[in-house]
């Protein structure tokens, strides 16, 4: 669902050029200094992307450790820890979805850890089979049988209130293999950005414009980043929310077992905010600094709209699967707020980038 945006009235080939000088007035912009430019890109790479992926890897390790402990000592206290760590890991992952480019896509990590829906029929067959759940085995499974959502299904159960006593030995074995698989795939993702490892993806960003980078210019990186921000807004408003809402079908909800969908969406919006502000755990330089050099009103508009999108999601007070039926106004408002942000990113921020950076 790609909507279109700007019309660059490209009259370049107009051979009546002399009478056709109605090209849009070029905005007079102060070129952003090379130093600032480099600082922003370096900060987005290290302070946002690397920091997020590192934290993700830490959380995935903790989740696996908790699952191991639950496997050994199966009680509700340990189960609660697992459930919380699933949410914590999920929160970081969703905060990475505002920059879904690079190894997460090209190394096929995303589908292997975040495919939806869960293949329940196959999962039931697995439970009733005699296969040994090793990480090697899980690696051969289809995407709909591994990653966040099968783990969610096993941990929370339908209804979200699964208790420790309901777990079978096979469920625990599968859960353990799934958790180690998730941890390992996330570890691969972190390693692909780890600045200590040569060939890390961040180097493409900080070296943009040099022959060693896949980005021929710094502007190309900025465009990649802004396009990704736009992409997640599109996906949340017009995919993740719209599809279950339009169909009025809670079965189409993305994280139905944990009732975590609204939190997922909110963290997606935070991801956009993180990139814009250059901030994950600590503040750094982000797109904000670039915009503020030339256009304070655009900066204010983007910040207002990011906050509005998050606030609109917070106004949904029941789990998403219920809200699509019982809170249609709040859901529509959230979609509108996210689409409003998307429109500003598309129609104002992207053109701004094109005129401000080379």
């Amino acid at each position: 669902m790609k909507t279109l945006k700007y019309t660059i009235a490209l009259l370049a080939l107009c051979s009546i050029a002399t009478s056709c000088k109605k090209t849009p007035a070029e905005e007079i912009v102060t070129p952003v200094s090379t130093d600032l430019n480099a600082e922003i890109l370096s900060s987005i790479s290290s302070n946002v992307a690397e920091a997020t992926y590192y934290d993700l890897s830490v959380k995935a390790d903790q989740l696996y450790a908790a699952v191991q402990k639950f496997d050994t000592v199966t009680n509700d206290v340990n189960l609660a820890v697992c459930k919380q760590l699933w949410r914590d890991t999920r929160a970081v992952w969703e905060q990475s979805e505002g920059f879904l480019f690079g190894p997460v896509a090209t190394n096929n990590i995303d589908p292997r850890i975040d495919t939806w829906p869960v293949d329940y029929v196959a999962l039931d067959s697995l439970m009733n089979s005699s296969v040994v759940f090793s990480e090697t085995y899980v690696n051969t499974l289809d995407d709909a049988l591994r990653g966040f959502h099968p783990i969610e299904y096993l941990l929370f159960g339908t209804g979200g209130n699964k208790t420790a006593t309901q777990f079978t030995a096979r469920e625990k074995a599968y859960l353990k293999a799934l958790s180690v698989n998730l941890k390992n795939l996330i570890s691969q993702l972190w390693v692909s950005w780890d600045p200590a490892i040569s060939g890390n993806y961040g180097a493409n960003i900080t070296n943009a414009g040099k022959p060693t980078s896949v980005y021929s210019t710094k502007r190309a990186v900025y465009e990649e980043i802004v396009n990704s921000m736009i992409g997640i807004c599109e996906e949340v408003a017009n995919g993740k929310i719209e599809e279950p809402f339009a169909a009025q079908n809670p079965l189409l909800e993305e994280s139905p077992f944990s009732y975590n969908s609204i939190t997922d969406f909110t963290n997606n919006m935070r991801s956009v905010q993180n990139v814009y502000l250059g901030k994950y755990l600590v503040d750094g330089k982000g797109l904000e600094e670039l915009v503020r050099v030339n256009n304070l009103s655009l900066d204010a508009s983007i910040k207002t709209k990011m906050n509005a999108a998050i606030a609109a999601l917070n106004n949904v007070t029941v789990p998403f699967g219920q809200a699509i039926i019982s809170q249609p106004i709040q859901i529509t408002n959230a979609q509108n707020a996210i689409n409003d942000l998307k429109t500003t990113l598309e129609n104002d921020l992207l053109p701004f980038i094109k005129t401000s950076v080379n």
């Binding site: 790609k2 107009c14 096929n108 329940y120 017009n238």
Partner: protein, 459 residues
């Protein structure tokens, strides 16, 4: 996987002024803006989402249809009778369109230990079927499915081995070509010894609607089956069975130009690649009687959604070229011409007038393909006839967008089976009538080779 950016180029090609007024047919390649690979459906996006932009100027209704198709293209199918997206398999190659066409881009050969996902095997035995196409392999069908849902058995597995050979240019720089060999293993029933394999890697999805909109007579006008003009390049159209129309038509899509149009290509892929039956291809791809059968099935995807996917594919825009004014790129373009690459990778085409679909109508586009079959030599031959295409004949791959492969997909695995790992390897594999081009390149200086690559990277 949804990058959604775009710019509309309200492209006003008013090239008509009194004193220089020329008829459109007389326009030459250089009269057009080379940035605009997809004509008015060119998008200025050189990022990871460059292959995922819709056409510009679609009506709200068509944009909605594009969005619906996008959703289905990304849809992960699971085992029936799951409440959501059921119907996968029982045997299949991928779980979704997007699992092979990652980011709408090109597939890759599996790394050691990795599942074979975006590379598949068409299979047949000797002969021709009633429509002149390949003959299905008894018990296996037209395509090998090497994966299966839980509880079912894949048809077979594929072992890929490469042998490596090093060559050098006159300046001493070396390059290595890897030659694949494929062995089928673990067949669910004995694999016929006379089985023939044709590996195919998932191609990028951009600009396909524009290619479909090129008039048949324009494609045919480029044919020179007997090489009457004596330039060493032939060009032959494939003719294939159109299941919907129930007659033979020109083939346009796929590595052998064996698919007549995007709708049937999509329907075939749903059925064979994912195991999703539909109104065009009604039979499950499974032949194993222990896990269902190969008989007609209630369609697992509704007619309208198959149409929506075809519409989505039809309306994916083409990324603009980059750096066309770079002197090195210009030099590379000249070399591309002198090396006669452009004999088959014909830069410019025009789409037919179509008043019902103005976005596709009358566009000057730069796909760098003549959409015809050419003899590519024994080194690339799969030794298997596919309609009129001999084993050594392959349809000229459109080159538009190829320079963005690395960024979109992380890999640059070129040619029909992904054996070439970069541009030089891809060029040097060109044999048959293209041998004169690879021969020319083999004698170039390093600087000229680099210029040629720069040019390809600008596409």
């Amino acid at each position: 996987m949804k990058s959604s950016i775009k710019y509309i180029i309200a492209l006003v090609l008013f090239v008509i002024v009194a004193e220089s007024c020329r008829k459109p047919e007389q326009l030459k390649e250089e009269d057009h803006n080379e940035y605009l690979s997809g004509g008015s459906q060119t998008v200025f996006d050189e990022g990871a989402g460059a292959f995922s932009n819709s056409f510009m100027g679609l009506s709200p209704k068509n944009e909605f249809n594009h969005g619906v198709g996008d959703g289905i293209f990304d849809r992960t199918f699971v085992s029936a009778p799951s409440p959501v997206n059921p119907g996968l398999g029982p045997v299949f190659n991928g779980v979704s369109c997007a699992s092979c066409h990652v980011s709408n881009g090109r597939g890759h050969t599996p790394a050691p230990g990795e599942q074979m996902i975006s590379l598949l095997m068409r299979i047949s035995v000797l002969g021709e079927n009633e429509h002149g196409g390949p003959v299905s392999v008894p018990g296996y069908g037209e395509q090998l499915q090497q994966r299966a849902i839980v509880g079912a058995q894949p048809e077979a597995s594929v072992d890929i081995q490469y042998s490596y050979q090093t060559y050098s240019f006159p300046d001493g720089e070396t390059y290595e070509l890897r030659t694949p060999s494929y062995t089928l293993q673990n067949g669910y029933i004995p694999i016929p010894s006379d089985i023939m394999l044709s590996p195919r890697i998932a191609p990028p999805m951009i600009g396909l609607g524009l290619l479909e909109a090129i008039a048949e007579e324009d494609i045919l006008a480029r044919q020179d089956v007997e090489d009457v003009d004596g330039d060493g390049f032939s060009g032959k159209a494939n003719y294939v069975w159109d299941v919907v129309k129930q007659k033979k038509v020109i083939g346009r899509f796929g590595w052998k130009a064996a698919a007549p149009n995007l709708l049937e290509q999509a329907g075939f892929a749903f059925s064979e690649d994912i195991g999703i039956t539909n109104f065009i291809f009604k039979k499950e791809s499974n032949y194993n009687p222990l896990q269902g059968n190969n008989s007609s099935d209630t369609p697992e995807l509704s007619d309208s959604l198959v149409h929506a996917v075809a519409f989505y594919i039809k309306t994916l825009a083409v990324p603009a070229r980059r750096n066309i004014d770079d002197p090195e790129v210009k030099k590379g373009k000249e070399i591309f011409k002198v090396a006669k690459c452009s004999k088959c990778h014909v830069p410019m085409s025009k789409t037919a007038v179509n008043v019902a679909f103005p976005e596709l109508s009358n566009q000057t586009i730069f796909p760098y393909s003549d959409l015809l079959l050419h003899n590519m030599g024994s080194g690339l031959s799969d030794g298997r006839k596919d309609n009129l295409a001999e084993g050594y004949e392959w349809r000229t791959r459109p080159l538009w967008g190829i320079g963005l492969t690395k960024k979109v997909n992380g890999y640059t695995h070129f040619l029909h089976d992904g054996r070439a790992r970069n541009f030089i390897e891809a060029i040097m594999w060109h044999g048959g009538e293209a041998a004169q081009s690879s021969g020319y390149v083999s004698q170039l200086s390093k600087a000229d080779r680099n210029s040629l690559i720069k040019f390809l990277e600008s596409l």
